[in-house]
Subunit: 292 residues, 2 copies
Amino acid sequence: MIETKNSTRRVTVISSISEMKEISQSFQKQNLTIGLVPTMGCLHEGHLSLIKKSLESCDKTVVSIFVNPTQFGPKEDLESYPRQFENDIEKLDEIGVDILFHPSKEEMYPTGYKTFVEVKNITEQLCGKSRPDLFQGVATVVLKLFNIVQPYNAFFGEKDWQQLAVIETLVKDINLDVAIIRVPLVRENDGLAMSSRNRYLSVQERQTALSLSRSLQKAQDHIRQGITSVKIISNLIQQNILETEGTKIDYISICDPLSFKEKEQIRGRTLIALAVKVGPSRLIDNCIIEEI
Amino acid sequence: MIETKNSTRRVTVISSISEMKEISQSFQKQNLTIGLVPTMGCLHEGHLSLIKKSLESCDKTVVSIFVNPTQFGPKEDLESYPRQFENDIEKLDEIGVDILFHPSKEEMYPTGYKTFVEVKNITEQLCGKSRPDLFQGVATVVLKLFNIVQPYNAFFGEKDWQQLAVIETLVKDINLDVAIIRVPLVRENDGLAMSSRNRYLSVQERQTALSLSRSLQKAQDHIRQGITSVKIISNLIQQNILETEGTKIDYISICDPLSFKEKEQIRGRTLIALAVKVGPSRLIDNCIIEEI
């Protein structure tokens, strides 16, 4: 028999919630641990690093691809968010994922849907400030995915630092039995943080976008040299970004990495997080300053 | 050996979430189904009817007693809510409950607790109107209890009709695997709906409180005689309650039993729901008019 592309396909694609639940239950009955990697598709090396961690540590790996409408605001890029399903499937095949869960929005949010989860106090700052619907949507869809897939481990990238804090708090507060595994941010060779939204960028904008990682790098250099004033570091980042034409700063935050309370001095563990509009893309990046 | 009261005690009292989870997991490993009856204690015949249903249909029955602070408003009766733990335990012993889960409020809501669940569209009417914190608190604590106890069935009384609708919607929307079992309202011989809050009532107020069930009874009689005007029926109930001294109406609602949309004519399945203040107690009662 000649192997066609289809006959080598190993990833099972599931779009029904009840089917996904059945599969998860059957894995559990066989005492197989499930790793879940929730994504919105358009997979890049950042996603693949999460998937690799799951493949290494769990018996079965489920990747979900769902562009979650409840986390997009009315003026945001839900419709234009990049989708490239066939390409994604090839990547999942190649890397050896067991299940792709790919529900429709009607399957996840049928007519009459009413229930939302809110994690208070840590969702009003940074990305939550300019995207007020974001974290309620994220917490709700992640809770649904956890209930459907019943993972033992779930993998999230530190690029979305605030999202990770929200999900960790959700899990702890409502007594879920899933371990949240943090995976470091992955960068392109030139430093740009991997993001599906990088695909929106023109060649020129792609260059402009480097100002985020470059300004974080400079900030870290200065902090290493002993500067602890948030004002100085924040100004440095701001100047660095604004001197690149075509950037619009949403926020620069130098804050506590758990409470997101703004700091005045860089003392103790500190998060530096940025959101900058470059062309059509709102890009984020961050770094952690370990206790100094 | 002489049997003392303690040596006959069969119900296991658990106050730690992690211990409760371990027990639930061990039941599940033995393929034993768990029935959960969430209560705020001060158990009466209404609760016992829920517990009996659980004992009949599940291998193991867990009753929770937790006076949930997040469902009380700042001016409500959290502090004075009746508690009679020893009496409750005796009842649970006698009926044959397996586990009493009785966490502290610090165990359920430790310092820094942040996560709340909201079921929209069906929580702004009836009890949700005068008690805006109620259903967010109920949905949150019920979700936590479900995650901790992992029940196969959970039992709720139709006295709290709107609460039942909220919990059913929660379970469906976030894809939980628990069957919600509705149990009919239980009345005293004279018609008063069983409630822990009946204990607040003086002998005189206890008589006054009968106006709720009596007015519902009269409404049903008139509807059976062919009256379908909501205005007429609502006025009849109102007059009946107000002619009893010492009553203060919170709401009289004649509405759709799923959406709680007010009706103008009693057509199709209809809920008649009341909340009336009698002395220190805010009492509720309801009845269903089946399709006529």
